[in-house]
């Protein structure tokens, strides 16, 4: 007969104030199979754990139920304690008396009765628990980094420098991300490209890094340590081995008027193009949507001018499959465009631009060579307004959160403007100034005090265009002033940062969870910020929420350490709570009839076929078999199996059935 030990925790007074723990211990002690039933002030404390350990040894317990807080909190603690006492950790269950009982009910008999019911259910279950051994799986020591912005670059370099192979996948033709578009960076005002491009080159040259640009992740199978990823390398219409990057084609292409993505639409590019001069790799791609040849079947100018004959119009997309052990997601963010704001002209006012566009105007390599000019008439604006929190912190716009980076880059923009247009007037309309970072507050003060940027606490309600000027309706809320109209030559919106388009799709492909704003969800907001709920997939940078460069880089290094830590082991140990198809002796071999209706149910492709063969090699029967490396233990196949031939450790049919019965019946 079972010898179950039941340990009821007071949790200080968290449980005992509402539940009569003495009575629970007494009633549970009367159940069949219970050899020991006690209560104690703090079961999770050292003396509490020792109670469990001592009882296991003295009373030769065959199972343990700790009735305390949620198993999501302390199940590992008590399983470890059991293991220390020589009891298989999987013979320990927790009954949730705190979150599910004492904290949600009043002190009365009903609550105590419910507590008894809960504990009894777990006592019934634990009697049917089996001693399980952890599963060991090998680790493929190669990482995949998705996204080649500064976070992806940092993560890839850090992992590669630890001696591991890295595959870096970037969707656009060049790595660099948004940081490559920036002019100067806060709070030091050093040139963004000057600090980034050496890192980009390092990535390209690193012996441990394989770079796939113009590529996307299409599919993912497997599990931590053992992923199989499918990457689509889009056709660049170019033999990259032959191309020398001379750039001749990009100057001869007759399609000249395509808005450049890199210039945020403020500059133009050709149909065959390199996004920007420092691009890595510095080789062109053909934009098939705008290429005359792809549209009409005629042209081929690039092919004609190419000195190395590297153009390949019929080049297909390439599908690359790679085995990897861990993934870092660094897909970054996007910003809302000005067309998102009807009150600010719906994107129709040419001189109402977003922050990223201003970066390009301020950039020495930008469309205006760093001179601030109005897009409408190329005039230098004499009066410029910056509107912070454009969209951010605005529930009405569906973006409740603070985008975190706008206060700082708006101060930077205003300063850059003042440095370039000394006689100009810069106004910043803000709600609050959030400058919480090293040297950040000082930076903002400098803008106000040294560069004389006018900071006005106000929400700009509308912008109206009048005779080439922009009239802002504002009210200085600090002065309590009446709304007034102020005239400007140009307006820069610090638009909200949002999740990268495609983030949702990618999350679904990778089985990673995401929040309501489609930012990837971290496993724990405080303690596991760089992990996802999917083991082996980590987060870096603004794909988790918008963040600035130093934060993105730190997070990337954090994720890299997680990957390196994983790769420091040759084998992973996994919980054995997985499914199993029964096996019997001949002639049945299993009650499984091999209908394989369970196969499409499995999200992890863990259900395989096993052929039972006779001595002469003839296949007698084909049975389902669970790959224990792939199974994650959801149990959907178990509920589906008609002949009840599959079962799952930890939640066996016997266990859950006995729980249901025990909930309503004493034993």
């Amino acid at each position: 007969m079972a010898r179950i030990g039941v340990f009821i925790c007071h949790c200080g007074e968290n449980i005992s104030a509402t539940v009569d723990v003495v009575k629970v211990a007494e009633e549970i002690g009367k159940l069949k199979g219970v050899a020991h039933s006690v209560e104690y002030k703090y079961m999770c404390s050292d003396p509490g754990q020792n109670l469990v350990i001592e009882a296991i040894k003295e009373k030769k317990l065959t199972g343990v139920v700790v009735a305390a807080c949620s198993p999501r909190m302390h199940e590992p603690t008590f399983r470890k304690a059991c293991e220390n006492a020589g009891l298989n950790p999987f013979l320990c269950e927790m009954a949730n008396l705190r979150e599910h009982c004492s904290w949600v009910h009043e002190r009365n008999d009903t609550t105590t009765e419910k507590a008894i019911d809960i504990v009894r259910t777990l006592v019934a279950k634990v009697q049917r628990n089996a001693a399980l051994q952890p599963i060991k799986v090998p680790v493929t020591k190669k990482a995949l980094v998705i996204g080649g912005g500064v976070a992806g670059i940092q993560a890839a370099l850090d992992i590669a420098n630890c001696g591991h192979k890295v595959i870096l996948v970037e969707r656009s033709p060049s790595i660099g991300g948004h940081m490559a578009q920036l002019s100067e960076t806060f709070p030091t005002l050093d040139c963004s490209q000057c600090i980034l491009t050496p890192r980009m080159v390092e990535v390209a040259q690193h012996p441990n890094i394989t770079l796939y640009t113009y590529a996307e992740v299409e599919g993912l199978e497997g599990f931590i340590g053992n992923f199989k990823v499918k990457i689509r390398k889009k056709s660049k219409s170019l033999d990259e081995k032959l191309c020398t990057g001379c750039g001749l084609c990009t100057t001869k292409c007759p399609q000249k008027k395509i808005p450049s993505e890199f210039e945020q639409g403020l500059g133009l590019r050709r149909a065959i193009y390199v996004p920007f001069p420092q691009a890595v790799p510095n080789k062109p791609v053909i934009d098939k949507e705008n290429c005359t040849y792809y549209k009409t079947g005629k042209c081929k100018v690039c092919e004609v001018v190419c000195p190395t004959k590297a153009i390949r119009f019929d080049q297909p997309d390439e599908i690359i499959e790679e085995s990897i052990g861990a993934i870092v997601l660094a897909t970054g963010f996007e910003v809302k465009r000005s067309d998102f704001f009807p009150e600010y002209g719906h994107g129709k006012y040419k001189d109402v631009i977003d922050g990223l566009q201003f970066e390009r105007l301020a950039s020495a390599s930008g469309p205006t060579q760093g001179v601030i000019r109005r897009p409408s008439d190329n005039e230098i604006p004499k009066r410029i307004a910056f509107i912070a929190c454009a969209g951010s912190r605005d529930p009405a716009k569906g973006i409740e959160y603070c985008s975190r980076i706008c206060c700082m880059y708006t101060a930077k923009h205003a300063m850059l403007y003042k440095h370039k247009v000394h006689e100009g007037d810069a106004y910043v309309y803000y709600m609050d100034i959030r400058a919480a970072g090293k040297n950040y507050e000082e930076f903002v003060r400098r803008a106000i005090e040294e560069d004389h940027v006018h900071y006005v606490r106000s929400r700009v309600s509308t912008i109206i265009e009048r005779n080439g000027k922009y009239i802002l309706k504002v009210a200085d809320t600090l002065l309590g002033a009446q709304p007034q109209e102020v005239e400007f030559d140009m307006v820069v919106l610090a638009t909200a940062g949002i999740a990268s388009p495609g983030a949702e799709n990618l999350a679904q492909t990778l089985h990673v969870s995401y929040d309501q704003h489609k930012f990837f969800a971290e496993a724990h907001p405080k303690l596991r910020p760089v992990e996802t709920n999917t083991a082996g997939i980590f987060l870096a940078g603004a794909c988790q929420t918008t963040r600035d460069i130093p934060d993105s880089v730190s997070m990337a290094s954090g994720a890299a350490v997680k990957v390196a830590g994983l790769f420091s082991q040759t084998e992973l140990t996994r919980d054995p709570l997985i499914a199993q198809v029964n096996r019997l002796g001949p002639p049945l071999y299993s009650t499984c009839v091999g209908c394989f209706m369970c196969q499409p149910v499995c999200p992890y492709q863990a259900i395989e076929r096993e052929e039972i063969k006779s001595r002469d090699g003839k296949v007698i029967k084909v049975l389902a078999k669970i790959n224990e490396g792939l199974c994650q233990g959801c149990g959907t196949c178990i509920a589906l199996c008609r002949s009840k031939s599959i079962d799952i450790h930890g939640y066996t049919n016997q266990q859950v059935y006995s729980e249901v019965v025990a909930l309503f019946n004493e034993f």
């Binding site: 979150e99 009982c101 949600v104 009910h105 259910t121 959801c634 799952i648 249901v660 909930l663």
Partner: protein
């Protein structure tokens, strides 16, 4: 006569509703003590016959709850569960089982208050419906001649 207190069992998934119910606790939101939770890894794991076992053993009502669509920890368990419940609920209704006694819901780990609300409304509904005597009578009528 004191008010009838229904016995309700909740079959919930570990990742969303169980965690959601934990949050109800940490938020100290009070709810009816009629519901007792049984934890499953995923709603996909919940065998339809378990619902009948609950009724057979004396449940007056049942709550089945898991992650919202697209939020399943195992990505698709709740979609499979949903189909299963769609079909099973039709069968139950066709065979005369009172489907009003089964509450199906999606409650995420962040919806502690919603869990309390679901428990309370289900309990209130079952108080009105009364004990599930139909099924209990079915269970009792067994052997023709009890000696």
């Amino acid at each position: 006569m004191s008010e009838f207190e229904p016995k309700i069992v909740a079959f919930v998934c570990n990742w969303c509703t169980y965690a959601g119910a934990d949050l109800t606790g940490t938020s100290r939101i009070k709810y009816a003590a009629n519901v007792k939770i049984i934890r499953f890894p995923c709603t996909g794991r919940i065998d339809f016959m378990l619902l009948m076992k609950a009724f057979q053993n004396g449940a007056d009502g049942i709550i089945v709850s898991g992650c919202h669509p697209n939020d399943c920890h195992y990505s698709s368990g709740n979609f499979h569960a949903k189909r299963r419940w769609m079909a099973f609920r039709e069968l139950l209704d066709y065979m005369g089982v009172d489907v009003e006694r089964i509450t199906f819901s999606w409650v995420s780990a962040a919806e502690g208050a919603r869990w309390a609300e679901i428990v309370n409304t289900t309990t209130e509904k079952l108080r009105k419906l009364g004990p599930y005597t139909n099924y209990q009578n079915l269970v009792k009528s067994g052997i023709e001649e009890e000696l």
